[in-house]
Amino acid sequence: MTTLFTILFDGVAYGMLLFVLACGLAVTLGLMNFVNLAHGAFAMTGGYICAVLVNNQGWPFFAALPLAFVTAALVGVALERTLYRHLYTRSHLDQVLFTIGLTFMSVAAVDYVMGSSRIFIKLPAALEGQFDFFGVGIGRYRLMIIVICGLLTVALQLILAKTRFGSRLRAAVDDPRAASGLGINVPQVFAFTFAFGCGLAGLGGALSAEILGLDPYFPLKFMIYFLIVVTVGGSSSITGPFLASLLLGIGDVAGKYYVPKMGPFVIYTIMIVILIWRPNGLFGRAAAR
């Protein structure tokens, strides 16, 4: 019974992490209909920034996290303004080719600068080890991830649902032409959202170094996971991707624990079945945009 709870706990932490990593992609892919396979590269940027600051410059871990967010967001907005925006209207094939190219470049560039081996971020002592909670082993680091990501999720939901910016974004996504007719600066809204999504990915990358492992091949290894979250979760709200991430996280951890040799197999099979059954995602709306 306690192992079940431990698996559940680890799975939730993993799923929360995946959500923070992938929710930026849910916006670009699901809402703006842009196939961004380079999303993992932004996560990697944040992770490496955090690693350099903590390991080489001696920054405290919690001070480096916001900077990981900001750097990834800045890189994101710079690329969006210079390159990505030319491709919004192009075919999916062009978008795929372009973002695969960016991913390859980021992999080789990070390999060149940082070396190809896996990198670890020095954690403060307070986050190491685990404590017992009614016999269930709770990792401190994973608990912190759940808290941070849970707060972020609530904040995101509030921003989308309650603020003026949130309603602008929803309007711009639903019908860009009508929205710009109403005086909403659609490209600006998209650019800001894109940057914010990249920032979240960067933060997720910094947090995930401990759990997922950070090396130059990060964007390629986890690309499929991000895509699963978005396609399975659908794009009508952020609750869809959120539930999909939790499912994926718990499923992956449980799969690796109970049927260790079939781990990835289970995930891919579930994904294909869901895509066949509901091509717009489990929680997606019926109309394909």
């Binding site: 390159l83 075919s91 080719l97 390859f104 992999v107 560039a109 040799k261 197999f265 891919y268 895509l275």
Partner: protein, 343 residues
């Protein structure tokens, strides 16, 4: 003249062999005698060309975007490897066809998943199938050899006459003949009414079905054929290198394949062949400059190609040959710009 005969005369006119095409194949054959020390790399190019031809059939002609074409390549490679390793079919040509058929069956079965949904779902499903097969190959490592790959494959002589030599001469001619035969078949397919209906589907599926083209059945058919081609390419890989490892399923292989096709141009058969030559040369060049970081430059080529526009680049490249043809022969350019992609 009725509409039907008009279509067929048009198709026949398109299918006629042009001097440039004959020159292309004579050039390919003469490479064997011009660079006798480069058989291995040239065989590599031929395999890649066949693999790209396969992607061109579904992407360039039918408009199906696939990120997991390596699945069929891998199945072909492992089938050929296992057949040779366990001595089930010793004769390479029969084993080649058998491996292609195995991939073809897989292609037929998965085509039902692929034809559903829009571009994005197709991307995910094809990618998922390739990853699934990679996970399976890793799981059943007692059969596939796991990360070490299949070891100790001994290839028997082709048709019992031509043994594979260590310089790759036999392998090269074998691959060239296979490529040429399959190219002829592909040429026949795309110039047939069937091929024309595929183009109609690619341009507008709704309109194609309105004029009576059975869209789904045509897509299933071409996907199955393309899987056969990819399986043959994979089997050639195993037979000429005596090697099959997990990386035949790798995502990088599918992604590189896209790049090869895009360099050569989609929607005409020589695109894959020219793309394979250019890609391998680029790869060799980058690998000699920066052995470890050539991936960066490949990525840069992709990004630049998309940003500048694929059609524009092809026009620039073809400008000189077209000018020469116009000046020398005083007629319309024969080297055509490949058909543009429907947005």
């Amino acid at each position: 003249m009725t509409a039907a005969s008009d279509v067929s005369s048009h198709a026949i006119a398109r299918a006629r062999w042009r001097p440039a095409e004959i020159a292309f194949w004579i050039l390919a054959l003469s490479c064997a005698f011009l660079f006798p020390s480069r058989y291995l790399i040239m065989t590599d190019i031929l395999r890649l060309a066949l693999f790209t031809l396969s992607l061109d059939l579904i992407l360039g002609y039918a408009g199906i975007v696939s990120l997991g074409h390596a699945a069929f390549f891998g199945v072909g490679a492992y089938s050929a490897g296992l057949l040779a390793l366990h001595g089930i079919i010793n004769e390479p040509v029969i084993a080649l066809v058998a491996a292609g058929l195995v991939a073809m069956v897989l292609g037929f079965l998965t085509s039902f998943l692929v034809i559903r949904g829009v571009d994005l779902t197709r991307l995910m499903v094809t990618l998922g199938i390739a990853l699934l097969l990679e996970a399976l190959a890793e799981r059943f490592s007692n059969i596939t050899g796991g990360t070490d790959g299949l070891q100790g494959i001994e290839m028997q002589p082709i048709l019992g006459l031509f043994a594979f030599d260590m310089f790759g001469k036999t392998g090269f001619f074998y691959s060239l003949i296979v490529l040429f035969l399959l190219f002829l078949l592909a040429r026949r397919i795309v110039n047939s009414p069937f091929g024309l209906s595929l183009r109609a589907i690619k341009n507008n599926p709704l309109r194609a079905s309105a004029i009576g083209v059975p869209v789904n059945r045509r897509l299933i058919a071409i996907y199955t054929i393309a899987a056969f081609y990819a399986g043959i390419a994979g089997a050639l890989f195993t037979q000429t290198t005596a090697l099959a490892s997990l990386d035949v399923f790798a995502f990088e292989r599918s992604a590189d394949l896209m790049l090869v096709l895009v360099i050569g141009g989609t929607g005409y058969l020589y695109g894959g062949l020219i793309g394979a030559v250019v890609f391998k040369m680029l790869q060799e060049l980058f690998q000699t400059i920066t052995p470890q970081y050539w991936l960066f430059w490949i990525g840069l080529v992709l990004v630049v190609m998309v940003l500048v526009g694929r059609e524009r680049i092809h026009r620039w490249v073809l400008w000189v040959p077209n000018l020469v043809i116009r000046q020398l022969f005083g007629r319309k350019a024969v080297v055509a710009v490949p058909e543009s992609d429907a947005p």
